[in-house]
């Protein structure tokens, strides 16, 4: 919505043609999101090495770019770009080339509707939650196609496992997502985030005991659906060589990698909005400091910036715990993965759904007394509401 203000400003003030103003603004937005995703991927590859190193009683990267090896991802990137790009003879070349980009696009599309702070969202959809779940599920296509088109049996195994796993885990994941949505009464991510304003007790995860459990089921399903250890069966290196990635090398391989990290970050972000207050910290610092739109537009903007940092940090914590899991646990077997999903996650999530429903019916308002925000209740800026509600 902000982008429309900017575009309109550009057309009226500088007389730019409408298509250029709108197109330019949209392009800039896309580039920013792409930048965030790339940066996240680069940061996480470095961090994964550091975390792995520390967990394994090593140092991890130390040389490239100074003391902490923080340029390691850049060095990796250059190495990957310089590597020979192989396409096996047996491969279906078109699909083989296409597959990584499908995965990447799906991961990127999540960022299009993911709000980073109050109204800081590229495309404010009022079916945002739904859209994210749908699009995140599309990432599996790239993996399936990549595995199928490689013309290798190990890749095919990886693809089959991924298909089975992701299709199964979409069910409990969807159920877990629906539960906070039911409490919030909207599919609009910005609205869900904003209704958790105030102290940490307002977070949906503390709304009722069922939601609290749901959060952990959601976390489990997120790990499974982003294909991370201990659920990384599609690329299980001790069984399937590298699964669907077996035949990939160089740039295409790194695109898959970026998609994986991108979607990890996005799913953690979604979790933090749905359960952990989104851009609202446990303590309403912004409101204490008076960084609200009620005081001044700039102050409000600063408050939002603080919120964005808050959100990014929470999502970052989610990714960090995924890494922690990965370097600690052995891998599950495919039948155990399916059992976990179908025998435990689905019934449990369904029970939580019913429980939350009954809770909201019997005890509307939540477990803990809802705190009111400090000071004046800051109204959301007008552009955070969906269009139709604004009566345009």
């Amino acid at each position: 919505m902000r982008e429309r203000m900017i575009a309109e400003y550009l057309t009226t003030r500088y007389g730019l043609p409408g298509w250029l103003a709108y197109g330019g603004v949209a392009l800039v937005q896309c580039l920013i999101l792409l930048g965030i995703m790339m940066f996240a991927a680069a940061l996480f590859t470095w961090m994964e090495r550091k975390v792995a190193g520390r967990i394994q009683d090593r140092l991890g990267p130390t040389r490239v770019g100074g003391r902490f090896g923080w340029l390691q991802s850049v060095a990796d990137g250059i190495k990957l770009l310089a590597k020979e790009d192989l396409i096996p003879k047996e491969a279906d070349a078109v699909l083989f080339r296409l597959a990584p980009y499908i995965s990447f696009c799906a991961a990127f599309c999540v960022y299009l509707v993911l709000p980073f702070s109050n109204g800081w969202v590229a495309q404010h959809l009022n079916v945002g939650v739904f859209f994210i779940v749908a699009v995140a599920g599309l990432e599996v296509f790239g993996v399936i196609l990549g595995g199928y088109s490689s013309g290798s049996k190990w890749s095919l195994y990886g693809a089959m496992r991924e298909a089975a796993q992701v299709v199964s885990y979409e069910v409990p994941l969807g159920l877990c997502v629906v539960i906070p949505v039911m409490v919030a009464g909207t599919l609009d991510l910005v609205a869900i985030g904003n209704m958790q304003r105030g102290w940490g007790v307002n977070w949906l995860v503390f709304h009722n005991p069922f939601l609290f459990i749901t959060f952990f089921i959601y976390a489990l399903c997120t790990v499974a659906s982003t294909n991370r250890a201990p659920f990384d069966l599609a690329e299980a290196e001790s069984e399937l060589v590298a699964g669907f990635l077996t035949e990939y090398s160089g740039f295409r391989w790194s695109v898959f990698f970026m998609a994986e990290y991108g979607s990890m970050y996005a799913m953690s972000g979604l979790g933090s909005i749905l359960f952990l207050g989104g851009w609202h910290g446990p303590i309403p610092v912004a409101e204490m400091l008076g960084l609200t739109y009620a005081n001044h537009a700039v102050l409000g903007w600063l408050g939002d910036l603080l919120g964005a940092c808050n959100f990014l940090f929470k999502a970052f914590l989610g990714v960090a715990s995924m890494m922690w899991l990965r370097w600690t646990l052995p891998r599950l077997r495919i039948d155990q993965v399916m059992t976990t999903c179908l025998k435990y996650c689905v019934p449990l999530a369904a029970a939580m759904f019913v429980g939350t429903m009954l809770w909201t019916y019997a005890l509307p308002g939540g477990l803990l007394p809802r705190s009111t925000p400090m000071g004046a209740v800051a109204e959301a800026p007008p552009w955070t509401a969906p269009r139709a509600a604004r009566g345009e």
């Binding site: 599920g137 196609l145 298909a163 299709v167 969906p386």
Partner: protein
Amino acid sequence: MINWHTFFFMLFATITCAFAVAVVVSANVVRMAVCLIASLAAVTGLYFLAAADFVAAMQLMIYVGGTLVLLVFGVMLTARGPFVSMKITPANWLMAGLAGGALLILLLCAAVSVDAWKTAAVAESAAGREGGHTVARIGMALLGLRVDALEQPNPALRGGMAGYLLPFEIISVHLLVVLVGAAHLARARRTKKPIEPPSGTSRAA
């Protein structure tokens, strides 16, 4: 003067149609599935443009996500060498082309036959901005409550706006039955044929 609504419509429509044609033309099952995905995903864009945001998300989730993962799964379970692509005769093509072409012409004629259908009522700039806000109303409608009936200016039409509780329930039961049935069908009662012991000279790929 081209506006964004038109631009995106043309973009999505082109993708939709091009990949739909590609589905027909392509002989490889997996490629067909990929083209179908692309085509259906582009239809999602058309839905968004037509202010049907909930339907669009549903399309993306169920159609593109659910159905096609299933489809690709099925393709890969059964796709093996000769079965991936099957050739058909030119005569078949001719017959199919005639039937399909005739249908297409009929439908196109119908599409452009009504004048009111060719003129967009809302000013073009506003059309693209009218974001749908259908989630709650669809939800209520499925529960049998038509809140949108209050917005219907024509009282004659308002009477026909019934709720969808019964169809919703029927669909739910239907889905359940279908799931059970599909699971039952796919459970092949396998004849236990003995697997001959692998010979050492077997060359595995």
